[in-house]
Each structure stands twice: as C-alpha cells, then as structure tokens.
Amino acid sequence: MAKITLDNLAHSYLKQPQKDDDWALKELNHDWVDGEAYALLGSSGCGKSTLLNIISGLLQPSQGRILFDGRDVTHAPTAERNIAQVFQFPVVYDTMSVGENLAFPLKNRGADPKYIAERVNAIAAMIGMEDQLKRKARGLTADAKQKISLGRGMVREDVNALLFDEPLTVIDPHMKWELRTQLKQLHHDFGHTMIYVTHDQTEALTFADKVVVMYDGRVVQIGTPQELFERPAHTFVGFFIGSPGMNLFDAEIAGTIATVQGASVPLGGSYAPKTGHTQIGVRPEFVRLQAGGEGLPARILRVEDVGRHKIVRLDVGGTAANAILDEGTPVPAGADRVVFDPGAINVYADDWRVAPQGAQGDGPQGAQGDGPQGAQGDGPQGAQGDGPQGAQQGRAA
C-alpha cells in the first residue's frame, strides 16, 4: 500500500495539444492518501477513466509525474506498479476454470502454491463462488464473470492500490448493492487504497470516504459526501450531486444581499462585489414554499411523490427549479412564493464558488490545488439538515 502523488499531471490524446480543449485531463496535483477509499465521479467523457489508466500505467501522461510513496513511477510499466484493476466489462480467461482465473495473478508472480490455494479459497468465499471453483469460466453469466474479475483484483494482498473502472455496470441491481457492501467491507478489513470510478452518484457517495468530482478534464472538487452536498465548489458539482440537483439563479451580489429577478434574497454571509457571471445556488432541500409574503414569485408545475419525500417542480420567473418537502409536509395552499434558507445559499462567480468575506475560504483554484482537506474552507455555517448520505440512500433504496 502506498500514498499516490500526482504531480503536475496532465494528459492529451493529441500529439501537440494547442487549446485548452485538447487536454483530456487538465493539469492536476493531488495526493491519494494511503488506505483511503476514493470515488472518482463525473459524467461520461470527463477524463476519469483517463486518470485511472494513467495511475495504473496503461497510459503514459503527456506531462507531470506520478509518485508511489515518493518513488517516481511515471514511466514504470504496469507490472512494476503492483496495482490491481477491475474493468467495466468482465474480463475472464474463458479457457481457465474459475479457480485458475483467481490464481492467475499470483501464479504469474511465482507465489507459493500453498499460499495461492489459500488465497483462492478465501476470495472464492468472499465472492460466493466456492462451489464453482472447478468449473470453466466460459458460459458463466455476466454477473458471475464480473465477480471473478473482482476476485482477481482482490486476490493479491500486497497491492499498492485497487482501481475500479465502473465495475458494477453489468451487475444486477440487487447484486450491485451486495458487492458494493463487500468492497466496503474489504476496504475496512484490509485498508487498501481504493479508487472507484463511477458516474453514479449513489455508488460514489455510499462507497467512498472522499469523492473526487471531475468535469471536463478537471477535478472540480474533492471532499466528503457532506461537503459536496453543502458547499459544492462548482456549479457542476451542485447540479450533478443530489437528485434533483442544486437550483441555480442568475443574481447580482452586493454585500449580504443577492438580487434575483429584481427581488432581494438575503445571504448567509457578506460577499465582496463580483464581476462576471454571478449566480446563487440553493439545494431543493432548503427551498420553502409559502403563499404570499416574502420571496421570489414562483409557479408550481407539478408535485412528484417519490416515497420518502415530495419533489415540487417550480417555475421561478422562467427558470426551472425544484423544492423538496418531507413526506408529512403538505404543499401550502395557493403557494406562489419560494424562500431560501440563507445559510444554505452558495454564491458562484463564473461557475466557481465564492467564499463569504471573513471566512477562511479559498478561491476556486484552491479546490484543485491542495489535498482533499484543504479543498474546502470552512464556511460560516455549520452543518445543515440531514446529510446527503441519508437522503441519497433513502432514495436509492
């Protein structure tokens, strides 16, 4: 196991990248702390698989270095890095038996046969295939094949890191849940550094200690699920995490007041005047509905009851927005105004979050630069509401 350092790393698939857009992975500095479980979250094409393949050595980065515990491995072949990786589609060696498949990585490294047998049995028990060890891998279901792939990834104990590239895409929903729990358990028991690529926020938020959100080849935020929920560093994070995502309104910012569509919205802190495209973002959980009085005029389009809560689809002066109400809370009769919880409002300039004055926050660039802890300054407000984990899991269940 090792700490993995990305130093000034960037990658382009073109030989001579010219514009910003030519880079599949924009410049990145980051430490993957030894023994943590990370999720690499982002939509398709954001560069997350590229990053993973650079770490595993399947790709050579265009610039920068990768260090394992301080040792430069940028040009080291995959074999030397001693990592395990599980791919999106199951990779099994058809002509081998299940047991031979599991033993393959150990055998290739010349491990002791007794030790191999021991490990194979342990892993087979973990993936629930003890009784099929002698069976040929050909003809198994996609589920079973992917379980073998996972098992092959986990069979070595001394790996520097375990990388997962959307490994549960082909797995049945109920198996997904079970395997994810097993992975989490594995991480708990053995403390491997794990990096889990996914575009599914539920998977990311439930699996990882730290979630790394990528957008357009850039890491936009690294943080705990709660941080991503409360203080998205980029409008993309706000929009991508949570269902539905964060509401965004164009606004003019002056001190503690934001002006949205001519109406004043009080903010939780004081902000220096900002130029460029300024917006405020507020999660649906912190939007309240009322009839008359304060707030922005809004029209209710429809109400969706999703079990544990209700999602109210709104039209706020031409901008689509959502509010979430607890199951017990009725939609107020004749509601035509929305009010935001001032402490839960985030301010964005050109898509990056702006910290209120006086807070120890940092600019948007800081989010990419430092380690995960430094990514987010402490905002003026404490934690609000129930964390996203609860909300997400509830919805997923």
Binding site: T78, A79, F87, Y93, T95, N108, K136, G139, R152
Partner: protein
C-alpha cells in the same frame, strides 16, 4: 436464440433448393449413373454394378494420388495455419498501415488460379524467373519440371504464397474482436506475452481458426489448376493430386465409369474428413466449456 417454428419458411428456401438441385443433384445423378455402368462407345450402356468401385479401390493409381493428396494437405496446413496466426499477430491494428497490409495481403486471393500458376511457373524458371535464376546463381540445382523435390517445394511454396493470407485475415478478424480490457487486465495480472496469446488471443480466435482450417483443408484437397499449370502433375506423377488425376481420367481418357466411381469416393472422403474435423473441434470446444 430461439427460433419460431414456421413451415412456410420452406418457401423462402425454395429458390436455393431449385437452383442447387439443378446444379448439384442432376450432375451428381449423372455421376452415380456412370459409376454403375459400362460402355463400348456409341452411348450404349449396360449395368456394371459396383465393379468400378472395386476396380478403383484396388487401383494403385488412386491410392497413390490419395496419399500424395493427404501429404500435400497436411504440409500446407502445418505451414499456413501457424504462419497465418503469426502474421496476424504482427499486423498493425489500425490506421493507414493496417489498410495497406490488408489490401496487399488480399491480392493473391483474387488472382485467377491459373494466373497464380503462371506467375510461379515464370518465377521459378531458371532462365527468366527471379527465383529460379537466383537459386541457380547460388549454385542450387533447381528444376521443378525435372526434380521431384523441386516440384513439391514449388507447389507448396506457391500454395503458401496463395493462401496464407486467408488464414491470416481470418485470424486477424478474430483478434480485432478482442476488447482492450483483456489486454489491460493481462498487463495488470502480469501475464507474459505467451500467456496473453495462450489464454486470451487463441481462445478468441478459435472460432475463425476452425473455419480457416476447414476452408484450407477442403480447398487444398480439391486443388487442381495451380499445380496443373506449373508442373502438369509431373515430374512423372509426383504432383498428380486427386483432382488432376480425376480430370485426366474423365476428360482426357473419357474413362467415364472409373472416373465416376473415383468422383463419388473423392467427394465422400472430403465429406468424411470435414465432418470428422468439425465434430472433433466442436466437441473439444464444448468440453472446454464445461
């Protein structure tokens, strides 16, 4: 995939049935007819029973031709299949050079067979051919019309030249269907190059390789034009393979009865060997799957 039972599908197959019936069944009936009759000319035939078959089975000529044929097919399979796989493994995967190689490699496959023969006939000549001339200059005595070894070598090299690309292209198509993740996983698992071939590439190529072997076996077993043009079956009968012998008998000497009996047995041998090939290979395949 489950197919629906539908007897009306016969109507869709009918055109094929009529056409192939016309061009296969009727001629085959003629052959069967000849094989059991004898004639003294003037289209007067009388029943000869299975005499022709007995004659042919006792004829050394046919057994020799069959022996030569088996040796020939065995040698060219033993060369072309491994060589084809080897070439396929070394082909560029994409881009201009991949197309370039594909086009050049397909070229021999689309040359009329007698032209293939002509090309090698010229190429091997000591006076005007590059190969023959070079060999002669090197002091190697080489004459494919006189020398047994030279004739066989020429015919085999010609077949390798002509058909290895087919095996290579089929194997290449099989290789192209392997997803990248397999190679990446193998790297992560630290598999050696040999193991990548043995456990990833070979199993994925198995299906197309089976087709390649079957095709090459069948076609080499029916080979006629190329050796006929180059060596004419000689020197002596050294390169007289089954088809050459049969044509000599049927169209050259008009020995219709023996030729017909020969034809039927020839056809049956091909069917039998192909069937054995196919069954053995699919069985191996199934056993692996268990």
């Amino acid at each position: 995939m489950n197919k629906t039972v539908n007897q009306k599908a016969w109507f869709l197959v009918l055109p094929v049935l009529i056409l192939v019936g016309f061009s296969a069944v009727i001629p085959l009936m003629t052959v069967v007819n000849y094989s059991v009759q004898d004639t003294f000319g003037n289209n007067v035939f009388f029943w000869a029973g299975l005499d022709w078959f007995r004659d042919m089975l006792e004829s050394e000529r046919m057994w020799n031709a069959l022996g030569r044929q088996l040796v020939f097919s065995g040698i060219i399979l033993a060369i072309e299949v491994p060589l084809g796989i080897f070439v396929a493994l070394n082909m560029p995967k994409k881009g201009f050079w991949a197309s370039f190689c594909l086009v050049l490699m397909s070229l021999p496959l689309l040359i009329p067979w007698n032209v293939v023969g002509t090309i090698w006939q010229i190429f091997g000549r000591v006076d005007i051919g590059l190969l023959g001339y070079t060999l002669a200059k090197l002091g190697i005595s080489y004459n494919y019309t006189q020398d047994f070894i030279a004739a066989w070598a020429t015919v085999i090299v010609m077949d390798v030249w002509h058909w290895t690309s087919l095996v290579a292209l089929l194997a290449y198509a099989g290789l192209q269907s392997i997803p990248d993740a397999y190679y990446q996983a193998a790297k992560i698992d630290q598999a050696s190059r040999w193991k990548v071939f043995r456990f990833i590439e070979l199993p994925k190529m198995a299906g197309v390789l089976m087709i390649a072997i079957l095709l090459r076996f069948m076609d080499s077993f029916m080979i006629y034009t190329e050796p006929f043009v180059v060596t004419g079956g000689g020197p002596g009968n050294a390169t007289t393979f089954l088809s050459i012998d049969l044509v000599k008998m049927a169209l050259g000497q008009f020995d219709l009865g023996p030729a017909a009996a020969f034809s039927l047995m020839y056809f049956l041998v091909i069917l039998l060997i192909s069937w054995v090939f196919y069954t053995v290979m699919t069985n191996l395949d199934k056993r692996e799957g268990r």
